[in-house]
């Protein structure tokens, strides 16, 4: 029952609520002054301020006021609508009001946090309040559209993150397609020998999970494949996947590898990408013995048959399964899924960019990933640490933070380098008995049992020098430096400049976004942070969600992280996808556009503008029509309509014009 104690002159009765947000807002904005000002605005039946509007009592205040004062509209002046619009819509609904009759005013992110002058920030808050009250009057009651969610999931990237997410989803009974651009799943983890801080063998913990993916009845594994196109919306995505030719029938090959022995090239002579170029492979190859799927592939760049069409094809003739198919072509396949988990990982910093360390110039300088392969029992040297010239190093220097924490390259800490450098120091010492020096800026070991691992290394006699290495040089100035690589560094703890001769230098390169991260994020319609990693919806509260509903991110594609954190995040992304699937449906924001037929002149201006094909032209009626299911609510058609006959829900001309007038009126 509307109380008749307040005149609103026939306008809908508005409740105005302003939040202190502790001191976040009230510290800069005179909340009481804004409340008093709003109380005098046309239509406002009640105006209140409260310490925390988003708290239960704050929401309750709105819900109970709706009945008490017969409120028909709500304005909440608080934080960003991207954070709490949903909260206050629910509060309104609880009080019996249509949730879309709520408008938020952002005076925290857009005012109190960015301004210092109390008077002008308060003035701004009043202007914004006036605009919101003017606009909310026009808010119509709207209904959310419900659409069913396709229970199938796409996981992109077959590193440990993608593997874990796929298995979690598949174990919950969901059908998963796992797409990996390389020929095998496993990602970076498959390159490692041991993992910090437990020193358990990477292959021993990873390969069972890889096999489980291959064997799982709910997982369809597509390696050597890339996502080309993504269409649709949350719950209903149509994804086109490019399947590159392996020239070997995946269903027939059993991975016996006899074809590799039979190849006309007697010796492996081509760059072996998997072994970081430290080993060689043949044109027909498999990345590593536990590759999953265990299927060989043929490299068209180096295979004689594919290059010239003239080869004895010994590989094909020894294959008793007849798996070879040199006529295979690239093809595209379309799949339907409801949600997508992106786990596309990272790349390591290009060590060549830091010229002072001589990578690519001195053969004794290695990247950490190369050393991972050198210490790996299944690597090119079977785990023996041998330099490119065959010598065993007597002294090894490990430089931390190459391409991390550096104004000239990447500003961020890559989080894993300290720990993997310690691990490599341990392994190098164990495998070769060499003296090992770690050159670090700060030692970062903030994980379970990480600091203890550092302590253990200190006890093992590994040397630690605090300082950023200035240069690696072969210019000897004393007899003991002859034939060595000399590391010039200011030891900032001892306060002296040192020259330390070593045989091998290891560059602990940092983690970077994938080279194609920008293309990939555009394809999936998500954002990247300024450093290029995929942007999460909220850094704390929605770390695996993105701004596109139904698309989740996991692992190092979102930022540098180690294996335990990656696995935890992959589980979280799978859980988010499961929550969406098990709800069975999604409710879409009703901010779609519609044509007022009576006013439409049939000019067709709007028809070609819609990127989703939602606007069509009804030839019989000579009017435009908008398909509400296809419409995504951008409003581009509403802006273009010369007769003003297209209205976008929540962003109608009347709403925006009154907002403009509102912010400017005095």
């Amino acid at each position: 029952m509307p109380k008749k104690d307040h005149k609103t002159n026939g306008l809908p009765r508005v409740g105005f609520y302003i939040c202190h947000c502790g001191s976040n807002i009230a510290g800069t904005i005179d909340v009481a002054a804004v409340r008093e000002y709003a109380a005098g605005l046309p239509g406002v039946a009640v105006a209140r301020d409260y310490k925390y509007m988003c708290s239960d009592p704050g929401q309750e205040l709105i819900a109970s006021d709706i009945e008490k004062y017969g409120l028909e509209r709500i304005v909440v002046s608080a934080c960003s609508p991207n954070l709490h619009e949903e909260t206050f819509r629910k509060a309104a609904a609880k009080g019996g009001l249509n949730p879309f009759r709520v408008q938020m005013v952002n005076i925290r992110e857009h005012a109190s946090w960015v301004h210092t002058d109390r008077a002008s920030a308060t003035e701004k808050a009043k202007d914004l309040a006036r605009a919101a009250v003017a606009r909310v009057v026009h808010h119509r009651a709207l209904e959310r559209k419900r659409v069913p969610v396709d229970p199938n999931v796409l996981v992109v990237g077959g590193g440990i993150a993608g593997i874990h997410a796929a298995l979690t989803l598949a174990n919950a009974g969901k059908k998963v397609t796992l797409v990996e651009k390389e020929a095998t799943i496993g990602g970076h983890m498959a390159l490692f020998d041991k993992t910090f801080p437990t020193l358990d063998c990477a292959a021993c913990i990873l390969t069972p999970k890889m096999s489980a993916v291959k064997a799982h009845p709910n997982i369809r594994l597509w390696t050597w494949s890339e996502v080309e196109k993504v269409e649709g919306y949350v719950g209903n995505y149509k994804v086109t996947v490019k399947r590159k030719p392996r020239y070997v029938n995946e269903d027939l090959c059993v991975g016996c590898m006899e074809c590799i022995d039979a190849c006309v090239y007697k010796e492996p002579k081509f760059h072996d990408k998997f072994n970081q170029g430290l080993g060689k492979r043949k044109p027909v190859y498999i990345d590593f013995p536990q590759a999953t799927p265990k299927v060989v592939l043929v490299d068209p760049e180096t295979c004689l048959q594919l290059k010239t069409g003239k080869c004895q094809k010994k590989c094909a003739s020894v294959c008793d399964r007849n798996a070879f198919d040199f006529g295979q072509k690239e093809r595209s396949e379309e799949i339907q899924v409801g949600s997508i988990v992106l786990a596309t990982g990272f790349r390591t910093y290009d060590a060549k960019k830091d010229k002072q360390y001589g990578y690519g110039r001195y053969p004794g300088v290695y990247t950490a990933l190369e050393v991972e392969r050198l210490v790996n029992a299944s690597g090119p040297t079977s785990g023996e640490i041998k330099l490119r010239d065959g010598r065993e190093p007597k002294a090894v220097g490990i430089i931390h933070c190459v391409g991390s924490r550096d104004e000239k390259s990447n500003k961020w800490c890559s989080r894993v380098c300290c720990m993997y450098s310690l691990k490599l120091a341990h392994l190098i010492k164990e495998h070769s008995g060499a003296e090992v020096y770690n050159f670090y800026i700060d030692m970062r070991a903030p994980g379970k049992a990480y600091e203890e691992f550092y302590d253990k290394l200190l006890g093992e006699g590994v040397h630690f020098v605090r300082g950023r290495v200035a240069e690696v040089t072969d210019w000897a100035v004393s007899p003991e430096e002859e034939g060595k690589l000399v590391m010039r560094v200011e030891d900032t703890l001892a306060g002296i400049v040192r020259r330390i001769p070593v045989d091998m230098v290891v560059l602990s390169t940092g983690l970077e976004p994938q080279a194609d991260a920008q293309e990939v994020r555009r394809r999936f319609n998500i954002g990247c942070g300024s450093e290029g990693f995929f942007q999460e919806r909220h850094p704390k509260l929605a770390p695996v969600n993105t701004f596109t509903d139904g698309v989740y991110i996991a692992g190092a594609c979102q930022g540098p992280r180690d294996i335990p954190d990656t696995v935890a995040q992959a589980g979280a992304a799978a859980a988010e996808a499961l929550a969406l699937i098990d709800a069975g449906h999604v409710e879409l924001e009703p901010n779609t556009s519609a044509v007022a037929e009576a006013e439409c002149s049939g000019c067709k201006t709007c028809v070609p503008l819609c990127p989703y094909g939602a606007v069509s032209f009804d030839e019989a009626k000579r009017k435009a029509a908008i398909n509400e299911v296809l419409c995504k609510g951008c409003g581009v058609c509403a802006a273009a309509c010369p007769s003003g006959s297209i209205t976008q829900n929540l962003f109608g001309d009347d709403e925006i014009f009154s907002e403009i007038e509102g912010v400017l009126a005095k």
Binding site: N106, K124, S530, Q535, C634, A639, I660
Partner: protein, 166 residues
């Protein structure tokens, strides 16, 4: 003689997915910028009808800022291209209407560029401050007054003529 320092009023239309988010980020990062901008949120910069911009000037804005996603980054595929097309035409029209360069600005600001919100708002506030008030409502009143005076003069002279002929 005391003069009140002119504080420009700038109306901004920010797209939800990039520039509005960037402004949120600026807030979360506690960047400080001029308090002269009043942000109106739209889902896409492509929703901004040139009439919104004209209306803002007509209702007293000294400047109008429009922020959208970078080309190729639009949440709605290509809404920002339509914005660009429209606003290029609008810029010519504004010039013809006597609205100086610098009072209207179109910027692509991604969700990660909180600092760009800060620098663009600060630059624009300074620019508009140096241009002084636009005060279209005041000009409208002046123009209306001129027209009224003109009408009155015409009426008076017509009356005069009628008298002569009568």
């Amino acid at each position: 003689m005391s003069t009140v320092k002119f504080e420009p009023k700038i109306v901004a239309f920010f797209c939800n997915w990039c520039t509005y988010t960037a402004a949120d980020l600026a807030g979360v990062s506690r960047l400080k910028y001029a308090p002269n901008v009043r942000v109106i949120r739209v889902m896409c910069s492509g929703r901004v009808d040139p009439q919104f911009v004209v209306e803002a000037f007509a209702k007293g804005a000294d400047g109008v800022l429009l922020g959208g996603c970078h080309p190729g980054d639009c949440h709605y595929a290509e809404g920002n291209y339509k914005t660009l097309r429209r606003m290029k035409m609008l810029e010519r029209m504004l010039k013809a209407m006597g609205v100086e360069d610098g009072r209207f600005r179109l910027e692509w600001i991604s969700g990660a560029e909180g600092d760009k919100v800060r620098s663009v708002v600060n630059e624009m506030t300074e620019k508009v401050r140096s241009l002084g008030p636009l005060d279209l409502p005041g000009k409208f009143r002046e123009w209306d007054k001129e027209i009224e005076e003109l009408e009155a003069r015409v009426k008076a002279s017509e009356a005069e003529e009628e008298k002569i002929h009568a």
